[in-house]
Symmetry: C2
Subunit: 193 residues, 2 copies
DNA sequence: CCATTAATTTGACCGTGGTCAATTTAGTAG
DNA sequence: CTACTAAATTGACCACGGTCAAATTAATGG
């Protein structure tokens, strides 16, 4: 019969995660080495891969948790009424997501669920983020011609666009906020002839 | 004094690229191994890295060339008049970009210029693509309230959104085209109350 | 308490991208 | 033709993520 999860297992996993967070705090995400994690956690290398399919799965988990904290904060904030306010509210999250090139690339790679059975932490946060946006856009919908969920998906798309351009040396003179606001205005408040 | 580029150099580089294309044709992009490339090209491993800073630079070059071919085709096509026609025209390019998860991730990673001095092939094609979109949208601008270049950037953003979702197991039942059309309609033909 | 079995851990080993000092080859000057 | 120099090539070597058969540890039944 299936045996319960051992306390030892949870302790080992916690030590691995703690070691990883420590390294990230000291040297950043990109610099994290599995060898260094197991060294600090006092385990063998194989143990790491017994707990996490690969290095990226650990990163998915750690980064996903951070994004979730930002989303918790977003749910406390008053519902933004203008594109400017919306961009402003999203800034802390954008700042985290773009804190490192490595982090942003990993987020993009994991933002979609790889398979139905396996929806990772980051993919989950993206679903949650769109839900929050949809809730914002349902209170007093800026556009009547399209449903709030489509409006939310558009905001999502433009957020990514604004962040992506941030890493482009040709266009990184303006901030993410200053690029996002015109997008949101054009998307949420169109004034067609 | 600076000596001219040797013919030998160009031949070696051509052999490396030919070998790479051959492997890609047989096994796909993801399966490409540098060891296999140099084996087929008949050079040492170090030679590969004397010609390309890393494996990704070679991929950037090969994939960038393919994208450019698709853009050449786009310039021959009649200017699309509706979101449906635009989505339709963009489909071959989207299909190539999403032919492999590996390819799409690499494109995203290289779509912005890493530095002003070094604008890679893929980054160049992205600039070119937005130019083409802008030209399309300048002929008979669907929206009068925002400039054609902003309209083009939006199309770009929604293209990426539609392609990204394609890799998400939760939402890949519909085709890229069927996801792109509603985005483009909402972006280019808003009907606010 | 012991035997049995499942879960966990281990570390030697592998695949693959990437480095670099040493060697070979091609061009240049006298 | 020869000596000299810059460019190109080489392959042994390294870094690091990831594998797996064997060993160890913890739970279970008698």
């Amino acid at each position: 019969m299936a045996r319960a999860v051992q306390k030892r297992t949870l302790e080992t996993r916690a030590r691995l995660i703690a070691a990883a967070e420590e390294i990230i705090g000291e040297c950043g995400y990109e610099a994290l080495r599995v060898e260094e994690v197991v060294l600090r956690a006092g385990t063998a290398k194989g143990t790491f891969f017994a707990h996490f399919r690969d290095k990226d799965v650990l990163m998915d988990r750690i980064i996903g948790a951070r994004i979730d904290q930002h989303l918790d904060a977003l749910e406390e904030v008053p519902v933004p009424q203008t594109p400017e306010e919306m961009a402003e509210a999203l800034m802390p999250l954008c700042a985290f997501m773009t804190c490192e090139r490595y982090v942003y690339d990993l987020i993009l790679r994991y933002s979609g669920a790889a398979s139905v059975e396996e929806i990772g932490p980051i993919a989950t946060t993206f679903g949650r983020m769109v839900e929050i946006l949809e809730r914002w856009l349902s209170v007093d919908p800026p556009r009547q011609d399209i449903p709030p969920d489509l409006q939310a998906e558009g905001v999502h798309a433009f957020m990514l666009q604004a962040m992506s351009v941030n890493f482009c040396a040709l266009h990184n003179s303006t901030s993410v906020r200053d690029r996002l606001v015109p997008y949101l205005r054009a998307w949420l408040c169109p004034r067609p002839a």
